[in-house]
Subunit: 231 residues, 4 copies
């Protein structure tokens, strides 16, 4: 039974089946792990942007993070920041960013259980997609990544738009379903359905762990080196 | 009552309210109309990608198209095409594009009631977003557009990803709710809820018509001309 | 006499003339000023990346900056930073960034005569173009900018690539010729020739000042406000 | 002796040497060949946009094209088109596109000696960079490309801007110097100098042929397949 079965009627699922949607995009050879917005303001229930399941989600991401590090796969973290200039607020439809609690610097710290290592880029972003106005794409290309494992929060927002941008650049997209969370369960489940039908594989975290255990580290290192470089 | 009220529980809507989501982004001064994928394969029920409500949707778009033309607002159409090379299929999770009916050239013709005028660009795209791998963004900048009215199909796919890319570039996003459609009503309604909470204004088509009737055409023309040009 | 006349032979200039190159793209109605990389490491001769004419260039930018501020035109500054992760070094062909002097924090401070105001975004970039991996494009769209005035250093590097990205997005491009500088005069002059023939107007700073004095501030403010917003 | 030695004074070259510029970025493991704008209007002297050396350039590209095909490396061609809508002309500073000869369909045909194979994408572009408003980037990612070999015309225009966009996305850039050409020799040589100092390796075509002969085809095919896919 899929996580979206209690929200998407069978009849609607049938429409997708008839048009040949679903199936599996599969894993490539060079994965990267992207952890979206697991900072205090999106995890700690004291803040307006937190999701109820965020702490469980952090716990589910942790073994995937460990496995990615063990496999030598590049890891990227994203987070938000306080707007330094009015233009940084963009066209967001929320007053939440103006709440006093959001002015605390600690609101923007990544949760301790997922603390970035020194060599793992932390990408500060202003928009839903981790690709929008950031160097994420050039980082993925630097590492010859072909598969992105997208985790974090919120499923129907920053996770989904990061998935879409990755898909629009022809990366294979994998979403470990226990490793994403959202404010409301309806938006959460429907986004997972939409992604799995069309753009990427929404699968159990255990399957992702199994894959990461098989990634060839030698492959990753050989590719990064290049031939004949002298800079 | 909002169109999503029968799908998103009140409790979940309350979470957004408490965090200050919703509200209105409002209209700017220089709108453009974008009509997403209203070609045969997505409208005519004979094809696997059609939505049940697509013909009604076309009828709802028509007066908006007329109003945009009358206001001198730039209009952009998008459509798909048969893949000429394997790479064009990308990572799409559908076998539907390989069905024999999708090999007919007429599958890719925009429906007659929304036929583009000669001066209206038809953007052929491969990905969900009308911005991905196209010149749409540079066209919008050419016309100094600040507001995009997004219509067409499908709500939870190409419409939503076009909305997100527009939002990530700081355009004001307007979705006339009768002028978009989808294969399944659940994905349709939940996407409209997600957009209206966070990224753009999902409003009645009548309100968009009222706005377009007031757009200042002189403004649009003065801006395009430039000062001191001789090319 | 053009600044490039002693480097580009008349015969070569004639080739461009015959094909109808040159002419003027002209000014639009909503300019922005972009000041590229006027930080210590690119201005102060103690650093390996400085240009001989950088101090004069800063002096030439100053009145343009004053005029842009007086006109209410948005101003954007860019600068580099020390790489926090190896991937940030990208594929740059220089060992200069590894010199001890480049590890000083003060190497990355914008020169005092062009110090940003609090409300002026300072864009930290890793690549030549001020658009690459940054929010500059979305900031320009936020302000409905149609014309970018590009100044700073170096002409054949970050200035040129910023000009090209602006051109590829259909902005009108203006380069005040005293307000850009480079390490070598040949690359400097040839880039100004290439730009003026094909992509933008390379003109005396005095002409840019004259234009900025005429920009309609009311226009700029009206556009930013929007109609019916409540966020 | 470098091709730019008669244009860039030794003193100016010395400035780059002192700052650690130059060196070699080197080859990666997954190259792609990009052939820029080798269509009639840019090659045949009857047209206003042709370069004097374009026919020799086509001859120099041919063995590289053969070698890329033999190596199983993806090949991409670009070309222009007549503007279907005014907005497609963008901000180009040329009247040449309005000359009667440019209205002939055959002006936009790739030269016979470099005719694309059926499986090689032909990318129609409006701007200097082959990446601007096209799917080139997503195609390169689809094939896990890490190295782009850029050839064609003109060196200081479309070739240079394609090189810069590739560099800004962290691809290794290789320019075989006999395989690019330009209208004027000064712009040609200075661009090759600028590229070789900072962004990519400008090297003899023979060295590129030697590299392509060693590329591992098995590597390329294994990567494309993916694991567990069923679409």
């Amino acid at each position: 039974m899929a996580i979206w079965d209690d929200v998407i009627p069978q009849e609607e699922q049938g429409i997708y089946e008839q048009a040949g949607w679903g199936g599996r995009v599969g894993f490539g050879r060079r994965p990267a792990l992207i952890i979206i917005d697991m900072f205090a303001a999106f995890v700690d229930p004291a803040y307006p942007f937190a999701s109820a399941g965020a702490r469980d989600c952090a716990r589910a991401i942790r073994p995937i993070l460990d496995a990615a590090r063990a496999a030598g796969a590049p890891v990227f973290h994203t987070k938000g920041q306080r707007a330094a200039w009015p233009v940084q607020r963009g066209r967001w439809k929320t007053r939440g960013v103006t709440f006093p609690i959001m002015q605390r610097p600690e609101a923007y710290e990544i949760v301790p259980e997922l603390a970035p290592l020194l060599e793992e880029p932390v990408i500060v972003k202003s928009f839903p997609s981790a690709f929008a106005g950031t160097n994420l794409l050039s980082y993925l290309i630097y590492h010859s990544v072909d598969t992105v494992i997208v985790t974090g929060t919120v499923t129907s927002g920053c996770v989904r738009d990061t998935v879409l941008d990755a898909f629009c650049h022809n990366f294979r997209v994998i979403v470990p379903q226990e490793a994403v969370c959202d404010r409301g369960m309806t938006s959460h489940k429907v986004t997972l359905f939409d992604i799995h039908m069309k753009y990427g594989d929404v699968i159990p975290a255990a399957e992702v762990l199994h894959y990461l255990a098989q990634v060839d580290q030698g492959e990753a290192k050989a590719s990064a080196a290049g031939v004949g470089a002298s800079r």
